[in-house]
């Protein structure tokens, strides 16, 4: 069943388009639906404000839609791209582009729905603060779109950079891995940036006088939540731009795919966990603006520890990318490399979310009572350190698979 390269490339382009818009539709729809639901509830509480609430909902939904629009653009480009005379490696580039854009759009679409929803609620609660609420919603939603933008950048690179200098094996795995790394990592960060945007918007309705403090806190919290997506993007760039001509194709292809999965998957948990912490911090600052200092400090400490598992995932990715493999077709060799990436990848999800939850509760408590700052930070660190254990076990099993097999 011999097909010319152009046929495979065309097929892959269509498949990539499908992934892009298919995954991309999930996030935007969920986010917008959530916003619409909260808007309905807000309108039922205050029917006379239905005008402003509806307007805010539509604006917020439009921003959440952007992720879906990016995904549609990439899909359109992939459907109509001219595949005549393209080398086979472009098939994997297009597939990776679709995955990168589609998966990133899930997180950002969902994340941008939160500020829209909370803005509608806030307007119903406190109508005079409309302007401040809308502004904050727009800023927060825009920040939440950043991971989708990262995904789009990587997708464009995959589609338009000339990869003919790379050998088909193992570069196909590098391109696919780059798409997965960026796409998966952006899911967590997208949601994680949206949660504090939402909480801060609601907080601004509750306490308009503390607007600056709330917004500062949200910006810091959201920015830190985006670090896992940055790690995913860096791994994607390394996979795209390192010259793979001098490495043995087998089993390095498995190492490259594993590198993409390791950082990509392990970034989901910390992204969401950091977002939960930042959300509680924004709400806490709204309740007690005087406590901003201890709240922000504890939030940063908690978020930093919650990011540990994406660091471990990044480390495993670096090992997979840069340690020279012995050329070998043995099945155990390449499966071990792939398995190491999968192990650390999935293993990073749980502790990331759990440590984020622990930090969220600690921050919430500190907002109520500033003086317990030091005690609660200590308890939070102990709890987070124990939650990390299974992440360490995953790291150990990954290292065993890499170095002992």
């Amino acid at each position: 069943m011999e097909f010319s390269d152009a046929i495979w490339v065309q097929a892959a382009a269509f498949l990539g388009a499908a992934f892009s818009v298919g995954f991309g539709a999930i996030g935007a729809a969920l986010g917008e639906g959530y916003a619409a639901g909260r808007a309905g509830r807000a309108i039922s509480k205050s029917p006379e404000l239905s005008g402003p609430i509806l307007k805010n909902m539509l604006i917020g939904q439009a921003v959440a839609e952007s992720a879906g629009i990016f995904a549609l653009v990439i899909a359109m480009l992939l459907v109509f791209i001219d595949t005549d005379g393209r080398p086979l490696i472009d098939a994997f580039a297009y597939l990776g582009a679709g995955l990168s854009m589609g998966l990133s759009a899930i997180g950002s679409g969902l994340g941008s729905g939160f500020p829209a929803a909370e803005a509608c609620q806030g307007i119903a609660d406190n109508p005079p603060t409309q302007a401040a609420i809308s502004t904050n919603m727009l800023i927060g939603s825009a920040i939440s779109q950043t991971p989708a933008i990262f995904g789009m950048v990587v997708a464009f690179m995959l589609m338009f950079v000339d990869f003919t200098s790379q050998p088909l094996w193992p570069a196909w795995a590098a391109l696919l891995g780059a798409g997965l790394s960026m796409g998966l990592a952006a899911i967590g960060s997208g949601v994680g940036s949206g949660i504090p945007a939402g909480s801060s918007t609601l907080g601004m309705a509750r306490q308009p006088s503390a607007a600056t403090a709330i917004r500062t806190n949200m910006l810091i919290g959201s920015a830190v939540s985006q670090t896992p997506a940055i790690f995913g993007m860096v791994v994607a760039f390394m996979l795209l731009f390192i010259d793979w001509s001098n490495v043995p194709p087998w089993p390095t292809w498995a190492a490259l795919l594993g590198a993409g999965l390791s950082t990509g998957l392990s970034a989901i948990g910390p992204g969401i966990g950091n977002g939960l912490t930042a959300g509680e911090a924004a709400e806490g600052v709204a309740r007690q603006p005087e406590a901003q200092g201890p709240i922000t400090t504890t939030m940063l400490i908690g978020q930093t520890v919650a990011q540990s598992t994406v660091i471990y995932g990044f480390l495993v990715s670096l090992i997979l990318l840069f340690i020279q493999q012995e050329p070998s077709h043995a099945m155990t060799e390449w499966v071990a490399l792939l398995s190491a990436g999968i192990c650390m990848g999935f293993g990073g999800i749980g502790p990331g979310i759990g440590e984020g939850i622990a930090a969220a509760y600690a921050v919430r408590r500190i907002a109520r009572d500033m003086s317990q700052n030091v005690l609660l930070t200590r308890v939070m660190l102990v709890g987070q350190a124990v939650s990390e254990s299974t992440g360490i076990y995953s790291l150990i099993v990954s290292l065993l698979l890499l170095f002992v097999i």
Binding site: V234, I311, L315, F322, L381, S389
Partner: protein, 223 residues
């Protein structure tokens, strides 16, 4: 992009064994030691009621950490305070060193964080045995049931792995990100921002987290 796996080494052959030392890490560590010793000397040269700038800085740091240690540890164990503040200062200064051109962080090499992690581990367990006596210390490993002993031991060892790898990963990961992104934007605009974020911001927080966790491990063992 430079080959990341080439490491400058010093080789020493002793009695049939070949010892390899990472020269870059050692030299940077000596620089950090030199700065700390120099700072200690300057701050205490003329101790007076009206302090000069170095003495004020030293007093602020000492006061902050003494408060942290007093909160965490009981009376009998407060003498670990100098250790805690030294760990913080060394790691913090090490992380900052990467921002200065031509210098790199000693914590970029896994050996440094691992050394501090193992140090903290031994100190914590030594403090535990000294405070509680060996029997009480050993009986904790068989809580709540006898066959949990190997799992408790793995848990203790994983604490060392976690704090060391967290510090190493953050610092080395940050330096690689700075290198890759700077290379991609042809060193325009972004590198100072990245250095500020990953070098200064992350470096400070990681140093603080490492120190706090070491303190917490000591306090958990002694209570």
């Amino acid at each position: 992009m430079e080959d990341l796996t080439i490491v400058p080494k010093w080789i020493l052959t002793l009695g049939g064994y070949t010892l390899e030392f990472n020269s870059e890490t050692l030299i940077m560590s000596w620089i950090v030691m030199g700065i700390l010793i120099f700072f200690g000397w300057i701050a205490t040269k003329k101790i007076s009621i009206l302090p000069g700038p170095y003495q004020t800085l030293a007093e602020v740091m000492v006061a902050t950490f003494e408060q942290l240690v007093a909160d965490a540890l009981d009376e009998g164990n407060r003498h670990y305070f100098p250790l805690i503040i030294t760990i913080f200062l060394f790691i913090w200064l090490s992380n900052m060193l990467g921002v200065i051109p031509f210098l790199s962080e000693p914590t970029k090499d896994l050996n440094t964080p691992l050394a501090y992690g193992i140090l903290g581990f031994f100190i914590a367990h030594y403090a535990g045995i000294k405070t509680k006596g060996f029997k009480a210390y050993a009986s904790e490993y068989v809580q709540p049931m006898f066959f949990m002993a190997p799992l408790n031991i793995i848990g203790e060892l994983s604490k060392v792995v976690s704090i060391s790898f967290r510090l190493y990963g953050n610092i080395m990961g940050g330096s690689i990100i700075i290198m890759v992104v700077s290379h991609l934007v042809y060193n325009l605009v972004l590198p100072p921002l990245l250095n500020a974020f990953f070098g200064i911001f992350v470096g400070t927080i990681q140093a603080f987290v490492f120190t706090m966790l070491t303190l917490v491990y000591i306090s958990v063992q002694t209570k």
